[in-house]
């Protein structure tokens, strides 16, 4: 079987993109922990519901950043591959 150089790079980039998205585990766990603590905070003090919710959403958005970095890397590997230009 003959594999061209472009084909090899594209195949490895697709695998790399898939591996990069493993980073999605981290934000998932982190956001779940934040949501759980937010729920228990609302349970303890229902009056502060809106404050707790907005703080939780803000924290979750910041925690999400690392996952989005991996998403951007995966998208770069798939659609704007810088390695193909090095052939």
């Amino acid at each position: 079987m003959n594999i061209s150089n472009e084909g090899l790079i594209l195949a490895c980039s697709a695998i790399g993109a898939g591996l990069a998205m493993i980073a999605g585990i981290g934000p998932g766990v982190g956001q779940g922990i934040a949501a759980g603590h937010g729920a228990s905070a609302v349970g303890r003090n229902p009056g502060a519901r809106s404050d707790v919710t907005s703080t939780m959403l803000l924290g979750q958005a910041v925690a999400e950043t690392t996952g989005l970095y991996s998403l951007v890397i995966a998208l770069i590997l798939l659609f704007a591959n810088p390695l193909l230009g090095k052939l």
Binding site: S54, L57, L58, A61, V62, E64, T65, L68, Y69, L71, V72, L75, F79
Partner: protein, 238 residues
């Protein structure tokens, strides 16, 4: 892609930015893209809304109309949002945050109108992040004077590079967060409509609720909220 997946993938997935008009500027090849068109449509929509509300306001005598109530509610809740997170410092920032929020929310929701959301283009979110960065550093120097620079050497002088990176990373993390969230929704909906277009009737609406409505509103809110938090952190306590 069409060959390998058979019937289902007869149409190519479409979620890329398309160039429409090519032109030369200073020897550089530039494109007018779908993003420009989307931004233009959104700006025209917002302008029309503003002009209609203005016309309704000026001849309001006695009982306010429905539109005036909606506009007053929107302005009041935006003002409350700014006041809630910035206190007295927020007085001068209500206009900026309000414009930012309106633009972002209409941009993020424009996926529902069949446009490609402009915020799914890094060329739109990075300038927004840089505007915020400029505001943060301007206020930092305005209120802290020389402290803005000595703050970088605290608590220990050799931490200077890390502090510097921490300051410079703000616009990139802000803009990448918005870009990544909106783009991931756009890509998933594009793949869905491209690959499953024969069976994609009505039920993708459920996914639109999450990817466009929920995610778009949350991200617009988070961008404004983080902008206010970062600016407020550089200003004296109110």
């Amino acid at each position: 892609m069409g060959n390998s997946l058979g019937i289902l993938a007869a149409k190519e997935p479409d979620f890329q930015i398309h160039g429409l008009i090519k032109f030369q500027l200073f020897g550089q090849e530039l494109w007018l893209t779908t993003t420009h068109v989307s931004i233009l449509i959104i700006c025209i929509l917002l302008l029309i809304f503003a002009l209609v509300v203005r016309a309704k306001l000026s001849d309001a005598e006695g009982k306010p109309g429905v539109l005036q109530n909606i506009a007053e509610f929107a302005v009041e809740s935006l003002d409350n949002m700014v006041h809630g997170s910035m206190g007295k410092n927020g007085l001068g920032f209500r206009n900026y945050i309000g414009v930012l929020f309106l633009f972002l929310i209409v941009s993020n929701l424009s996926g529902l109108l069949g446009l490609r959301p402009p915020t799914a283009d890094y060329g739109v979110t990075l300038p927004l992040g840089l505007i915020t960065f400029t505001l943060i550093q301007f206020n930092n120097i305005k209120y802290n004077k020389a402290g803005a620079f000595t703050e970088l050497f605290k608590p220990l002088p050799f931490l200077f590079p890390i502090n510097l990176i921490g300051e410079i990373a703000v616009p990139f993390s802000l803009s990448l967060r918005l870009f990544g969230n909106v783009l991931s929704g756009t890509v998933i909906m594009g793949l869905l409509y491209g690959l499953l277009y024969k069976v994609a009737w009505a039920w993708p609406g459920i996914l639109h609720i999450y990817f466009d409505l929920f995610s778009g509103c949350i991200q617009a809110y988070v961008f404004c909220m983080l902008t206010m938090v970062f600016i407020n952190a550089k200003m004296p306590e109110s």
